[in-house]
């Protein structure tokens, strides 16, 4: 990990931050813009020097870089490495950067087939390769999971980075937050949910509103996947449906595990 030069940020100079994106929908950056409207003191704490989605300023003297999106082309790697070289702290912003998210679904199919489907007769104009998280290309210092990210968690991560602490990303599953809210378990009303193995931090937002968790924040460390598959089987899912649940946001991980 690059030396944390932002420590001691309580001195006068604001920490300079930048936002970059690769293959993504930019929804996480929109959530960041949202958070700037609800947490006005964010801009008291940091100076945004590069944020294409929100600002015309494009300076390269940033200390913290937030990167949204998956890496899907060779030239992405070169750009990401330049960001890594400049940034003291590199943060993966959202599922696409963190786990490769839904972008990695294409890895389940032959690449030629996927390119033909998307680009048609001009498929050979686009030299895309298998989607990967940014951590597969460069070292990542912190992640903010989710599709999209949770704005409160984004603010907490910024705070932690400013004081040189490890960002408080939970290692426990969504079930924990769901139980603490006193929710009715969605399994008990005939739905299915990845909550027992999916990483928390979202406040169990989907089950709180009555829908099963899709696992957009990735899986917890050491998930009991066999037991989870049995739970989904008992809930009536076919083997294909069970695998779809595991690969929706975690295809990259599942494919890596097979290799």
């Amino acid at each position: 990990m690059a030396e944390n030069k932002s420590q001691g940020a309580r001195s006068q100079e604001k920490v300079k931050v930048a936002f970059f994106d690769f293959a993504c929908c930019e929804g996480c950056q929109l959530t960041v813009i949202d958070s700037l409207q609800t947490h006005l003191d964010l801009l008291e704490a940091v100076e945004i020097v590069n944020f294409r989605e929100a600002s015309s300023e494009q300076r390269q003297d940033y200390q913290i870089a937030f990167v949204e999106g998956s890496i899907t082309r060779q030239q992405d790697e070169e750009r990401l490495r330049r960001i890594r070289e400049q940034a003291d702290i590199l943060v993966a912003l959202g599922a696409c950067a963190h786990t490769a998210g839904v972008n990695a679904l294409k890895n389940l199919h032959p690449l030629e087939e996927v390119r033909l489907y998307v680009y048609g007769e001009h498929a050979d104009w686009y030299d895309t390769y298998a989607a990967r998280p940014i951590g597969a290309v460069v070292e990542v210092d912190a992640v903010i999971p989710g599709c999209p990210i949770d704005r409160e968690e984004f603010v907490e991560v910024v705070k932690a980075l400013l004081v040189g602490k490890k960002p408080p990303i939970p290692d426990y599953p969504v079930c924990v937050e769901c139980k603490l809210k006193g929710n009715v378990c969605v399994f008990h009303v005939g739905k299915v949910c990845m909550g027992p193995v999916a990483r928390a931090g979202c406040g169990a937002i989907c089950p709180t509103y009555g829908d099963g968790c899709e696992g957009c924040r990735g899986l917890i460390p050491n998930p009991n996947e066999n037991a989870m598959k049995e739970v989904l089987d008992e809930a009536g899912l076919t083997l294909d449906e069970i695998m779809d649940r595991f690969t929706m946001f975690n295809a990259y991980r599942e494919l890596e595990a097979e290799e």
Partner: protein, 343 residues
């Protein structure tokens, strides 16, 4: 103290009157289940509930609570304790949950008295209700001696048909009854009716443990290496639900969150679970209860042995919440029966 009679139609009036001076937390419907939540209208309260998702522990040890604010200006951080509490009535607690609260009372006043819990407890009145029917097939309160209570409540209600009998447990309960409810003295006929109701209820509850729960500490003492723990470790999702919904679990984690201005911080605590991968992870990365099997064993030993050794009370009240919530059907009654049959 004398037995009183409270006609059922008086209950909404009593709740309404209490709401003027207290937060009233009672059982309310939530989808197909029930929860203990603040009551906004007496008609929401469902004294006919079977069991709630979380126990009324949520009043005394909330899932998350602010415990201190810390000022960072100046030379040393200044810690200011915060106790966010208001006078509260828990209305409609079942006796299993009352037994659990008595255990929490001991845990939070033992060795290091917990100011936050004890202040909430001091400002909380408990009106409990006698169970006359089992919640469902999962409760085993009768085995755990939690099917009735003789202390720990301020007022205790028993449904005798048109009315509730009211046992007064404390002076505070007596005062509340005087001030907020129109109760009358019980007649000989009321007492006879109460005795009929109580003697009729016991046969409705079945024993589910194959042995006397008093044997649990000694039984577990020789079961540390039992093969069942490895089997549970294979099945367990480590989702933490069994302990998070448990009325006698009281572990918590403490977290600090600093303001963006870096001039102040807020310290909160929230429930923690020994079933989670990170629970026993310490500085340096060592995890002294890394295997799910070891974590499951720890949970059952807490319930059947460790708390008994510490407080003289078993750590399980037989509410069955952990059985209902477990998606892989880990069943505390079956686990204890299996160990007992193989001893």
């Amino acid at each position: 103290m004398r037995l009183r009679i409270l006609p059922k139609e008086e209950i909404p009036r009593m709740v309404q009157a209490l709401m003027a001076d207290y937060q009233v937390v009672g059982p309310k419907a939530k989808g197909p289940k029930f929860v203990f939540e603040p009551v906004a209208d007496p008609s929401e309260m469902r004294l006919d509930y079977n069991i709630t998702i979380l126990s009324p522990k949520v009043v005394l040890q909330p899932p998350g609570e602010r415990v201190a604010t810390i000022r960072l200006e100046g030379k040393a951080p200044q810690v200011e304790p915060v106790v966010e509490v208001e006078p509260t009535v828990i209305f409609g607690a079942h006796t299993c949950d009352l037994h659990a609260i008595r255990l929490l009372d001991r845990a939070f006043s033992d060795e290091y008295p917990d100011g936050h819990y004890l202040e909430r407890r001091r400002q909380t009145l408990i009106i409990s209700v006698e169970c006359l029917e089992p919640c469902d097939e999962h409760s085993f309160c009768k085995d755990m001696g939690a099917l009735t209570v003789d202390e720990g409540y301020d007022l205790h209600l028993t449904d005798i048909g048109e009315a509730y009998t009211v046992h007064v447990g404390t002076e505070a309960g007596e005062a509340v009854l005087e001030r907020y409810a129109a109760a009358r003295a019980a007649t000989d006929a009321d007492v006879r009716r109460l005795n009929q109701v109580l003697s009729a209820k016991w046969p409705r509850f079945t024993h589910r443990l194959d042995f006397d729960a008093a044997e649990l500490p000694a039984m577990l003492a020789t079961a540390y290496e039992h093969p069942i723990w490895a089997e549970l470790g294979e099945r367990c999702l480590a989702c933490g639900s069994c302990t998070n919904i448990c009325p006698t679990c009281y572990c918590f984690n403490v977290l600090d969150s600093i303001a963006l201005t870096q001039t102040e911080a807020v310290r909160t605590r929230r429930w923690d679970s020994c079933q989670l991968d990170e629970f026993a992870r310490v500085a340096g990365g060592e995890n002294f209860r890394e295997a799910r099997a070891a974590r499951q064993r720890h949970r059952f030993f807490r319930k059947g042995k460790y708390l008994y050794e510490r407080f003289g009370t078993l750590g399980c009240v037989g509410c069955g919440r952990c059985i209902r919530t477990c998606l892989v059907h880990i069943n505390i009654v079956e686990v204890f029966n299996t160990i007992h049959s193989s001893a």
